[in-house]
């Protein structure tokens, strides 16, 4: 066991840190979705041009093929810049791309992988449906094979970046008579196809980061099917994560920075009695505990990555990290509202409080999106502890 990084890794870290400090976008990421797309893709192109694109992807697919530890270092340094952790490049780089690498034909790979790395395209996901949330296998969006096309009719929901996406990784039901997990197909959908309607979906913070996508007899060439027709569940489950737990470090580093900023805020703000809030042990104790726990979150991330260095299959670290992180982040975000006091009622763009309120409102999604906390607890209990279903 050792904590320190090798000399080569430390040099790599220096290199990353220097490059990022010189190239990270200075301007604020735009709020407008289209402008954000341009911003994200330009930033991807900058990374691509400097050789930092596809950092975790195998070399044969245009990636850098770096070690898991280097990947961890990259993410840590990236997180320290304060850039948002999930932007419009996310689905392409972290999900659709790796799935194509695992299961697509060479032609499909040649068509889609380079544009993702170069920052030419935005992908979105088309998995969740109104009636298939946690129970994804119940999806109902139907596709009928008609000649060389799939004809898709139905609805997806919770689709991040749909209004600005070029492509979608789409799950459709191609055999309605097969058992739930069978009869599903994974297909590449061109978001500009006729019959697709994207409706923005407002969420608790009031913004529209999600969308509903409606499909009315949308024709998708069967050449876009990845894997085989009716084999989509296996394709979806086989999505490779080249990052193998290292990406968690982004959330961890950013939460650690958030806790320290909140401590600073509690030093500045005064309570009813005129004392700084940090002098209130109820607040101070919560903050100290959060600091200890966010440190434990890093230690857990390191431990998980260490296991993945040698093991063939990534473990259920994802569920563990997600559960611990989401509960902790929610507690921190709720505590921030206590620190703000009356300030927490005011949403004013120019105020430094606005960001805390935004975080707080967004944090309700932490324990829902990407698998609810309840599902994560099921997974940990059943897969790690062997409890019966």
């Amino acid at each position: 066991m050792e904590l320190q990084f090798t000399k080569a890794e430390q040099e790599f870290r220096d290199e990353v840190r220097t490059w990022l400090s010189e190239h990270v976008p200075r301007e604020r990421r735009p709020r407008d979705l289209r402008a954000a797309r341009d911003f994200d893709l330009a930033w991807q192109r900058t990374q691509y041009d400097a050789g930092w694109a596809g950092i975790a992807w195998p070399v044969e697919y245009g990636g850098r093929g770096l070690s898991l530890t280097q990947q961890l270092i990259w993410f840590e340094e990236y997180a320290r810049t304060g850039l948002v952790s999930i932007d419009s490049r996310f689905v392409g780089l972290a999900h659709a791309g790796p799935t194509l690498i695992a299961r697509a034909t060479p032609e499909q790979q040649a068509q889609h992988l380079p544009p993702i790395l170069r920052g030419d395209v935005v992908w979105c996901q088309g998995f969740s449906e109104p009636e298939a949330g946690s129970d994804l296998a119940s999806l109902r969006t139907r596709a009928i094979v008609d000649g060389d096309d799939l004809v898709v009719t139905g609805q997806k929901v919770w689709t991040s970046f749909a209004p600005i996406a070029d492509w979608q990784e789409l799950l459709v039901r191609t055999d309605p008579d097969a058992p739930k997990h069978k009869g599903i197909t994974w297909v590449i959908c061109d978001m500009r196809s006729p019959g697709i309607e994207v409706r923005p979906l407002r969420t608790i913070p009031g913004s529209a980061e999600f969308a509903e996508v409606f499909y009315d007899e949308v024709r998708i060439p069967t050449a876009n099917v990845v894997g085989a027709v009716n084999d989509g569940w296996r394709v979806a489950m086989s999505t490779l994560s080249f990052e193998r737990g290292t990406a968690f470090t982004i959330d961890q580093v950013q939460l650690a920075m958030t806790v320290d900023r909140l401590i600073e805020l509690a030093r500045q703000r005064k309570g009813f009695d005129g004392r700084p809030l940090i002098a209130d042990e109820a607040i101070a104790g919560e903050l100290a505990l959060a600091r200890a726990e966010v440190s434990a979150l890093r230690a857990m991330t390191y431990a998980g990555v260490s296991r993945n260095l040698t093991s063939a299959e990534p473990g259920p670290e994802g569920s563990m990290f997600k559960l611990f992180w989401s509960e902790l982040a929610q507690r921190v975000d709720r505590l921030a509202m206590d620190v703000l006091g009356a300030g927490g009622l005011r949403r004013r763009d120019e105020s430094p409080d606005a960001e805390w309120i935004e975080r707080y409102l967004s944090s309700y999604a932490n324990s829902i999106g990407g698998g609810t906390s309840e599902i994560q607890r099921n997974i940990i209990a059943e897969r790690v502890l062997g409890l019966p279903r």
Binding site: S128, E131, G133, S134, D135, S138, V157, W158, L201, R202, T203, I204, G206, G271, F272, G274, M337, D338, G341, A342, G344, L345, R346, R347, R348, I357, L361, Y364, A365, S367, I368, G369, T372, S373, E374, R377
Partner: protein, 343 residues
């Protein structure tokens, strides 16, 4: 001792509930979000006609003359329905005006032709008196109003909007509330009622607790409804203890909040020496119930709970406002430790 509503009180409950379901349901609150004013003027006047703003005010002062407990029943329904507009501020302002002898203003507030906003000091709660008000204020629902009511431990003041400076609109965390910032510099109250003359503050604390308790109940109900009907993995999600148990806890919290609120209202009605304790305890328990039930409801509702389209977040946001005004829970908690309680 009997905490169940009388026949008359059952009538208050069912008529206000019917009125609110018909005229001011959450859907109406949602429509008013994007309007300049968050008040439905027709419904406002209709509620005034039913005596809502003087329910707890003595008949000789122009009110209906029933108890604070009856008023609490009303505000529980208002909370449940998430009706928007300065119901609480107008009720308290009418009381201050009437007790202080400003009969004209009281009458207009009671009949629904004018409304009052709520002014909340941004620092200490009791730092004002009849001689003048100084400091930064937050004004809630002070749209198209000429007066705001400022209520603290020491007493309650009516302030003319014209006595305030730097009135600036600010987006409120609750999109269905209206928030302004303002400053007062030696602003002379139109009227002032000391706490010793009338416990306006404790009445306001109790009624805000009642609204929060009603919200906690509404959140329980919409969660339970979702748990009974939403199908995932072939069964209603309510079959899962991970859904069932949070719903049970929402119920217990809502019951605790409402029971303590009734207790507080009756303690004030019956002049018990521990009325202040019970009012603040109600505020603390009801604030917690509303906020926790909102968080639990959003979680039970899953992705749907995170949408703007579902009502859960509107309750959550209103709970932030109501928990803060008229006896912020953190402040109340600090006081609770030292107040006497009778067996």
């Amino acid at each position: 001792m009997d905490l169940t509503p009388t026949v008359d009180q059952e009538e208050i409950i069912s008529s206000t509930r019917a009125f609110l379901v018909d005229r001011l349901p959450v859907a109406r609150t949602r429509e008013l979000i994007d309007e300049p004013s968050n008040v439905d003027l027709d419904a406002w006047r209709a509620s005034a006609e039913q005596g809502w703003f003087g329910l707890g005010l003595a008949e000789v002062l122009g009110g209906v003359g029933v108890g604070l407990a009856d008023e609490a029943l009303l505000f529980r329904e208002i909370g449940r329905s998430l009706a928007s507009g300065p119901f609480l501020a107008t009720t308290l302002a009418a009381r201050v005006a009437a007790v202080a002898g400003f009969d004209d203003l009281a009458a207009r507030l009671l009949e629904g032709t004018v409304r009052a906003g709520l002014a909340e000091p941004r620092s200490q709660l009791d730092a004002f008196g009849p001689g003048g008000v100084d400091g930064d204020l937050d004004l809630f629902d002070a749209v198209d109003v000429e007066v705001v009511v400022l209520v603290g431990v020491g007493g309650a003041a009516l302030l003319s909007m014209s006595a305030l400076a730097d009135i600036t609109p600010v987006e409120c965390i609750d999109p269905a509330s209206r928030l302004h910032e303002a400053t007062a510099t030696s602003a002379l109250p139109l009227a002032f009622v000391a706490a010793s003359a009338d416990p306006v503050f404790l009445r306001g604390v109790t009624l805000s607790a009642a609204a929060l308790a009603g919200m906690a109940e509404a959140l329980r109900d919409l969660s339970a409804e979702h748990a009974r009907t939403r199908i995932q993995f072939g069964s209603p999600i309510g079959t899962n203890q991970a859904v069932k148990h949070p719903c049970a806890e929402m119920h217990v919290r809502a019951e605790a909040a409402w029971s303590q609120t009734v207790f507080a209202a009756l303690a004030l009605d019956e002049d018990r020496a521990d009325a202040e304790f019970h009012a603040l305890a109600a505020k603390v328990v009801a604030s917690q119930a509303a906020r926790r039930n909102a968080a639990a409801a959003i979680q039970v509702l899953g992705g749907m709970g995170f949408t703007f389209e579902h009502d859960a977040h509107l309750y959550m946001k209103r709970a932030h406002v109501l928990a803060h005004v008229l006896g912020d829970a953190r402040w109340a908690q600090a006081r609770l430790l030292n107040l006497p309680v009778e067996l």
